[in-house]
Amino acid sequence: MNDTIHFFSGFRPADMVFLAEAAWRTLLVYGVSIFLGTVIGTICGWLLFEGRLLAAATLSPVLDIFRSVPLIIQLVLFYNFAPIVGLNLDPFASGVVILTVYTAALVANVARGGIEAVGRPMRRAARSLGMSYWQDLRYVVLPIGGRAVFPAWVGVALGVMKDSALVSVLGYVELLKASQILITRTQEPFLILSLAGAFYFALSYPISRYAAKLQQRWAQ
């Protein structure tokens, strides 16, 4: 066995830097998408609530498509569709666009649930106190409804974080793609995958525990 030629080199400290950079890129694509997706999703949720029949006939089937087609297919589709209409997007931009839309589709339902969670009488009361429609949304619906669906939103946000790994299919070198590259070179799949998994776990686990605690406290 010692006579075999070694094409592969072991895991070096410099590879940790490579992984850390990839982890940063994961956070970047995720952070941008979750922020934009939440904003757009909240607006969509408000439209779904106020639009009634019109929104049910137009917006919700569109959002439904993004929830019923695998994210990986959406990514490949969009990445290959953009050049057709003359957009030349790099993997990062394509990933952000699709993750944003995907997040928005998920957040829209959460946001609508939040608005519905605020009772009609409370909103009428706000309006009779002389608040404008927007004041009512800002000072009554947002704090009360937002609190009601905050755990659901955290669930969506954590889900999208895990799904952001799929951007690697476009060639964006995020954490999982980077670990795949390293595995090919070092032939140490267990160690490297454990590092990648530990990163996701360290990010996701505390947040999910914290959200569960908050939910429990608010439920009392």
Partner: protein, 220 residues
């Protein structure tokens, strides 16, 4: 700006193959769900009633499944186990990965379901002379199933969507098959568009079937 010619003919020609691959997707998702429900039920019961190493094992399973990306889990079953000389076939990788993931998510749903059944009912059943197994089979589980029916349906949809990750480990289910055809003809957009439609149809069929079953199951 729009000088792309769509070629749908090669896609239509391989449509039967794609639909067959869709059946593989459905099959692996159903199998993973079936195993996931059984294991998830076990994990939930262990986490509710036991102490010691078995409980740590169940908790570790649930938290790992819920806090790391599904793609990571597939890679782990694919490459990670390779480090120990376990080389699984792509089908086994996807089935194992999906089962691991579904079992983790379902375990939390089941746990919530079990906690929703009041303790007094169990005590009442026991004092009527039922054994603890009888109590579980006749009193607790039927109610839990009703509570977790909707989450199980959701998880089934997720299982179908997640099986698309098989593409990344070389499994020829719907996505993998599509990628195979697409890379042969370079009609990437067309192929993936049709695949997206097939996924959408599968998801809608599952949701419709679940609604019909609910009508039949929960008549009383």
């Amino acid at each position: 700006m729009f000088d792309y010619n769509f070629h749908w003919r090669p896609v239509l020609k391989s449509l039967p193959d794609l639909i067959e691959a869709g059946m593989v997707t459905l099959q692996v998702a159903v199998l993973a769900m079936a195993c996931g429900i059984v294991i998830g039920l076990g994990l939930a019961l262990i986490r509710l009633h036991m102490r010691g190493p078995l409980r740590w094992f169940a908790s570790a399973w649930v938290e790992l499944a819920r806090n790391t990306p599904a793609l990571f889990q597939l890679f782990f079953f694919g490459f990670g186990l390779g480090a120990f000389g376990w080389h699984l076939s792509p089908y086994t990788i996807v089935l194992a990965g999906l089962t691991f993931n579904c079992a983790g998510y379902l375990a939390e749903n089941f746990r919530g379901g079990f906690q929703a059944v009041p303790d007094t009912q169990i005590r009442a059943a026991r004092s009527l002379g039922m054994t603890s197994v009888q109590t579980y089979l006749r009193i607790v589980i039927p109610q839990v199933l009703r509570i977790v029916y909707h989450p199980i349906t959701n998880q089934m949809v997720w299982a179908v969507l997640m099986s698309s990750l098989g593409m990344m480990v070389g499994f020829r289910e719907l996505s993998g098959e599509t990628q195979f055809f697409a890379s042969r003809s370079f009609r990437i957009f067309e192929y993936f568009a049709v695949t997206a439609v097939i996924y959408y149809a599968i998801v809608k069929i599952i949701l419709g079937a679940s609604r019909l079953m609910a009508l039949r199951l929960f008549r009383y």
